[in-house]
Structures are given as structure tokens and as C-alpha cells.
Symmetry: C2
Subunit: 112 residues, 2 copies
DNA sequence: CCAATAGATCGACGATTGTCAATGCTTTGA
DNA sequence: TCAAAGCATTGACAATCGTCGATCTATTGG
């Protein structure tokens, strides 16, 4: 390794400065968005409740999480926007499930 | 559903208040801490650079990430505190590597 | 010993986030 | 048709976070 730092040009004013190896900035942003959805204890417990029950209604999430209804609604929205869960409204209730395409991933994410 | 929240006592000094299924609050907090470390695009690119090179010095991280030196230092600290990377100081430089115990995990986390 | 360099820490700033009370919308049951 | 229930949205607030300039510490080379 160089005893003198390689001094790649600081920023060439234009495009992504040749990160060379590693994640692209786009991939990094997308990944970070997913991990941000998992970066909250309440959301992790929420997700694990959904994963454990297979399907659960929002009204049955408020009590175990010990959070207000708007707060639970907020967290389900974040997880849904990250594509980790999907909810379908049947009558008065919204039933949440792990997004099918992400089922395996979610299982791994909850027990790493 | 109870219209009144069950009023679990915030913490009963003892055990996890019957979440029933799912993650314990302790496990959730620990997991969330790890995912929080991954919830930033710059840290993900930083981690992928370390993973790609096997070992890299801080001075070689500033340019590819296009962030100031204090910012890079901050991010390496966050990743290290999450146990994802370890750095050893050799002379004037700190060399960063993926934490050996987490190598497999990190590989999966970067290519999910 | 001194000047230079790698890196950490501090202080400050704007931006984002988690939370709840209040309110609005929609669907059901009577 | 009406009251109630499930859920979303809004607005506000404190707390946390990402970033950088300035500064401090430690190590090297001369």
C-alpha cells in the first residue's frame, strides 16, 4: 500500500466519482431504505408479529406493541413502503402479511 | 378489540411483558441497532468498500465516498460499534476490515 | 525537537424521525 | 339513517442523525 495516500481526484464536478468497487450509490440508497425500515425496535417487533401469525389485523397490533394507534399505523406504512409487508382491507379491518416475494428475506432478517 | 389500550405497565422490572409471540424487546433493540448502522447509503458503500478490498485504510475511504474526513470517521465508528467492522491502528494508519465473526453475515447483508 | 500527516473529537447546523392527541374518512351493525 | 369502530392523516414536539469546519492527539520523518 502506498505510504502516501493515493490522492484520487477529490471530485470532478460531474458524475459519480468512480467509486470503482463496491455498491453503486443507487443500490446503496435502495438498500439503506430497506434497512432504515428495520432500524426501529417497534417495527421489528411488529414485523415479527406479522411473520409469526401469518396474518394479523392492525387492531391486534396496538396492544402487544403498547403504542398508540396512529403510531402503529405509521409503522405499518413504513414497512409497507419498504415492500416488506402488504395489507389488504377486508371490511373494516386491514390484514397485514409479509410480502410474498420477500418472505424468505424477512425470515432471515428477523433471525440473523 | 379493546378501545382502551391494555395499559401494560411500562416496565415491570422483571421480564418482557408478554409480547407473546415475536421478538423480545431486548432482541428487537439489539437487531434495530445493527440495522440502524446499515440504514445509511454512505455507510453501506463504506462497508462494501471494506468488504471488496479485504482491508483498507481510512485515508483511502475519503475520496471514493466524497465525504469529509470527520464524516468518514464518524461512519466507521458507527459500523465498528455495531460490531460489523474492526480497525487496527498500524503506525499512522487505521486499517479496517469486516469483523471476522460477521463476515458471512455482512456478505449477505450487502447482497440480499 | 519540529513540521507534517492520519485520525478522532467537539460544536453547531439543518433534516429526519418516533410519538401522540385531535381529527377525518370509511365501513359496519342496528 | 345513525352511532360506533377501524384506520389514516395532520400537526406538533422532542430526540436523533448526517454533515462539516475547527481543533486536538498521536505518530512519523527529518
Amino acid at each position: 500500500m502506498a505510504t502516501t495516500p493515493p490522492e484520487l481526484d477529490p471530485v470532478d464536478g460531474c458524475c459519480a466519482p468512480a467509486t470503482g468497487a463496491g455498491l453503486s450509490e443507487l443500490d446503496a440508497a435502495a438498500l439503506a431504505h430497506t434497512y432504515a425500515a428495520l432500524a426501529d425496535p417497534v417495527r421489528l417487533r411488529l414485523l415479527s408479529l406479522i411473520a409469526a401469525t401469518g396474518e394479523i389485523c392492525s387492531c391486534d397490533l396496538v396492544a402487544p406493541l403498547a403504542k398508540s394507534q396512529p403510531t402503529v399505523s405509521h409503522h405499518t406504512k413504513v414497512l409497507a413502503e419498504a415492500g416488506l409487508i402488504t395489507g389488504d382491507k377486508r371490511g373494516r379491518w386491514v390484514h397485514w402479511r409479509v410480502a410474498p416475494a420477500r418472505a424468505d428475506l424477512v425470515r432471515d432478517l428477523l433471525a440473523p
